[in-house]
């Protein structure tokens, strides 16, 4: 039988811990390991969708529950010449373009969107980083726009194109039709009863309340209906998914 001295044991434990870390980093960089780890996303998606009645509402709160300050994250100002020009005139020229697999593709001005039926909801915004803020959002339910423009039968996803760029790439996000038709999925133009501040996505941002903050595209300029996400960006369905392994399904 081998006799270990205490020092040898402690020494090998330290080497073990060190190689565990190096090993984990090497594993993290391996595409095959990433595929295995990412299978948890499929499990999360399948189980979380199966647990509710699929149209379950996210919790709504009272005005007394609002965060004193609603934190802004990601792009705080798109800063482009076009955006500045538009902001200077109160986004009067802003157009939301519905493109792709719609039977009646069309554009809406901000005023046209505001003349449609509106929904106001006080919800909790959960960032992937861990913080939460409660805010009151007013906007047009996406379902109303989808009903007007009428999806082609082959449409499976809705891609949100944005006016901001991060690291030189345009920001975009996508959701499936279940979230697209969800009653709390709105294109919001107001936060806490005021026009949406620039830092929070003026003049139009997506609210998709059962998912994490990065899904809530800001500065939305277009909704594209597609059959597959393959041809958009790098094909993973969103800016953060393309650049950094974030999951397309952000329900957890």
């Amino acid at each position: 039988m081998t006799i270990f001295t205490r020092r040898q044991l402690i020494g090998s434990a330290a080497i073990g811990a060190g190689s565990l870390l190096t090993g984990c980093d090497a594993l993290t960089r391996s595409p095959a390991v990433q595929d295995i780890l990412a299978s948890a996303e499929t499990a999360n998606f399948t189980v979380q969708r199966a647990l509710g009645d699929r149209m379950e509402l996210a919790s709504e709160y009272r005005a007394a529950d609002l965060s004193p300050v609603f934190r802004a994250n990601g792009t705080r100002d798109p800063g482009t010449a076009d955006y500045k020009t538009s902001a200077a005139q109160g986004f009067a020229d802003w157009q939301l373009r519905l493109t792709g697999l719609f039977l009646r593709p069309q554009s809406f001005s901000l005023a046209a969107l505001q003349s449609l039926p509106q929904r106001t909801q006080i919800t909790r915004h959960d960032c992937v980083e861990g913080w939460s803020a409660i805010g009151q959002w007013t906007g047009v339910p996406l379902k109303i726009l989808l009903d007007i423009a009428q999806l082609h039968a082959s449409a499976r996803f809705l891609v949100f194109h944005c006016a901001d760029r991060l690291g030189g790439r345009p920001y975009y996000e996508s959701i499936d039709l279940l979230d697209g038709f969800h009653p709390q999925t709105i294109l919001a133009h107001q936060l806490n009863g005021e026009p949406l501040p620039v830092a929070n996505g003026a003049p139009l941002r997506l609210r998709v309340e059962r998912q994490l903050g990065y899904k809530h595209a800001k500065y939305v300029t277009g909704v594209q209906a597609v059959a597959s996400l393959a041809g958009i960006g790098e094909g993973k369905g969103g800016y953060w998914q393309d650049v950094a392994n974030y999951e397309w399904y952000a329900g957890i």
């Binding site: 379950e56 909790r124 409660i134 329900g251 957890i252």
Partner: protein, 270 residues
């Protein structure tokens, strides 16, 4: 009666206990270290439903003027070198809360940390559920962790606590039925702390908030659940440290062998 339970099972640890122990140890290690990566993305804890940078955090790790600090309520402790301000393996100063040697991956990547965390969360949760069911079914829990009325006497509990500081008693404990402190600890870990990690983890999920809103109410808000998740993880680390200490003091080779091969029951040691 208690000794009989160990004799009848023939080995110190049953196969399901040993298999689960190994899988669970690996899962908890990965979950802890990938969890610290996730914590690094926002190293502040709050009570209530919401909480972000402008709100009061009861716990925060940060760095200012090259000094790392941990703040608990009003108490501020300098932690330079360990938390908030530390040198990575290449000698560069980093200001993430937890240092690279404690996180998976060792560099900051929230997306990769989340992937490790959720993958092992599934194995951990399914493993725990199967172990609970199997251990109730094969009567491991009822036989080895059941507490009798006489064990609850304060004098017995006190003696058991004192015994944990006596090396001679700890040395003999490897072959004995579990004492009251061990039973309470194992029950608290298996039936309270570990399930609490899963439930508070689920509470942080916005989709689960829609599916099961009672989760958020149970903990008084998402940020409270996040705080409880962190505190419970800390308690598990504390359990691990004492657990390791007791194994080292009671005969590490024999104990480790028993947890791998099963060991022998009553006649296992001298």
């Amino acid at each position: 009666m208690q000794k009989q339970a160990l004799i009848s099972s023939q080995s110190r640890h049953r196969p399901t206990t040993r298999i689960w122990h190994g899988i669970n140890a690996l899962c908890l290690l990965v979950l802890l270290m990938s969890g610290l990566t996730i914590f690094n993305a926002h190293p502040r804890l709050y009570w209530g439903e919401y909480g972000a940078n402008n709100d009061h955090a009861w716990m925060a790790v940060g760095s200012s003027d090259r000094i790392g600090y941990l703040r608990l309520g009003e108490l501020r402790v300098e932690t330079t070198g360990v938390l908030g301000n530390w040198q990575d393996s290449e000698g560069r100063t980093q200001t993430w809360a937890f240092p690279g040697w404690a996180t998976i991956p060792s560099y900051y990547s929230l997306a990769d940390g989340r992937r490790w965390h959720f993958f092992f969360a599934w194995i951990f949760s399914l493993g725990l559920a199967l172990f609970m069911i199997r251990s109730l079914w094969n009567r491991h829990i009822q036989q080895d962790l059941r507490m009798r009325r006489e064990e609850w006497r304060p004098s017995n509990i006190w003696r058991s606590i004192r015994d944990h500081s006596r090396i001679s008693v700890i040395r003999q404990s490897a072959d004995r039925p579990y004492n009251i402190v061990q039973k309470l600890t194992y029950i608290a870990v298996i039936f309270i702390l570990l399930p609490l990690m899963i439930v508070t983890g689920l509470t942080m999920s916005p989709a689960m908030d829609a599916n099961w809103p009672f989760l958020t109410e149970l903990f008084g808000g998402r940020q409270s659940a996040r705080s409880v998740h962190f505190i419970a993880a800390f308690l598990l680390v504390l359990f691990f440290v004492i657990h390791m200490l007791m194994v080292l003091l009671s005969g590490p080779l024999r104990q480790t062998r028993a947890m791998i091969t099963g060991g022998r029951g009553r006649e296992g040691g001298k």
